[in-house]
Symmetry: C2
Subunit: 221 residues, 2 copies
């Protein structure tokens, strides 16, 4: 299998049949998500912050202002933990106890490193834009040298990670199947609506297809 | 204002104009989210795990198996950090640098306590179900005593929290407004699709309205 050695902390203990450790599953989840949650230490206390990210090759990249507390903490050394969670549906069972959620999530641990090279930084920012909204980069003004200096980019290797996936219908206790209760799944996904033009936009400029028909790929159901 | 004293760690330092500390804003975001991300320590290392939650009054409640590593860690004492993040839209500026995201997020810190009283545990589980899918509880088999014993419920007080909110159009550098580039917002929201019946469901049982017309309230745009 195409996966790395499992550490204890990425080994899924609860409901291990939901676990996946292969890189294809992990990459697919990372590539579909928009926002990750980054856990890090400040004065020995755990903190968690949402932020955009992109996976490029075998690293995840974060970016932000050099003044960001999260990015400052990430430069202090130590490992961080990053979670990406895709919500796919509500699982309605016949008993309260077996209600659940269909989801795909990745948790990874790694030591962050600052990306210093401005060429690589620009590549990562392009990759981030391509990840969030494919097609956008070619239309926009690229970062100036000053903007690049004002942007901190951090990489975390994907070397210690696991995925957890729940799919499919509810699993009820056998006697409960006789209850006259609707059961099944309410599918959920992050959906886009019609783009809202900037009030200062020239009304002659139509929204590009990547904005008008924006959709992240959904899960296989 | 209806808010609590601000600690340093919940005071928003980056882009402070996006910060909100009033309880109404914080509660509204917590009430709209489905999944939170909980950061906690294991052997001094930060970990982050997604999980369902509910706000009832001035506490957030988590639940799960007593074997859950996260819930076990939460019983060791210390504070946890919880983030709830609602993604409202992609903000497409004229420059790469000013691309952003519209979002509403809450970060809170608190010391978890186990809810021991079975009556209160049952109330919390009902509250959780009402939060995730209002109307469901009345249709389902309620938890048995044994199921309640197999469910750990943890409360975290909402006494140290902040919200961060970005809304509205992109904010470009003044010269960039002259660029012939579409700019604006692609609205995003968690949307429900038609319910998928359990393969073992009696085909005579129609989906209830709360499943057929499931929708979480969206942001004011």
């Amino acid at each position: 299998m195409n996966h790395f050695p499992l550490s204890d902390r990425v080994t899924v203990k609860r409901l291990p049949h939901r676990a996946a450790y292969d890189l294809a599953t992990i990459h697919a989840i990372l590539d579909e998500g928009l926002v990750c949650h980054v856990a890090f230490l400040v004065d020995g206390q755990p903190c968690v912050i949402p932020t955009l990210y992109v996976r490029l090759g075998d690293h995840v990249y974060l970016h932000g202002s050099p003044a960001s507390r999260m990015l400052q903490a990430l430069q202090q050394g130590g490992t961080v933990c990053i979670a990406v969670t895709l919500v796919d549906g509500l699982v309605l069972a016949r008993s309260a106890f077996h209600h659940s959620m269909n989801y795909r999530s990745v948790v990874l641990y790694g030591a962050p490193a600052v990306v210093e090279d401005p060429v690589r930084k620009a590549e990562v920012l392009r990759g981030l834009t391509d990840h969030v909204i494919p097609g956008r980069w070619q239309d926009i003004r690229e970062p100036s040298d000053q903007e690049l200096r004002r942007t901190l980019v951090v990489s975390i290797p994907i070397t210690e990670a696991s995925a957890k996936v729940r799919t499919g219908p509810p699993l009820d206790d056998e006697p409960d199947y006789a209850l006259p209760v609707w059961a099944g799944v309410v599918p959920l996904r992050l959906a886009a609506a019609e783009p809202i033009p900037d009030p200062r936009l020239d009304p002659g400029i139509a929204p590009p297809l990547y904005a008008a028909a924006y959709a992240k790929p959904g899960p296989a159901r």
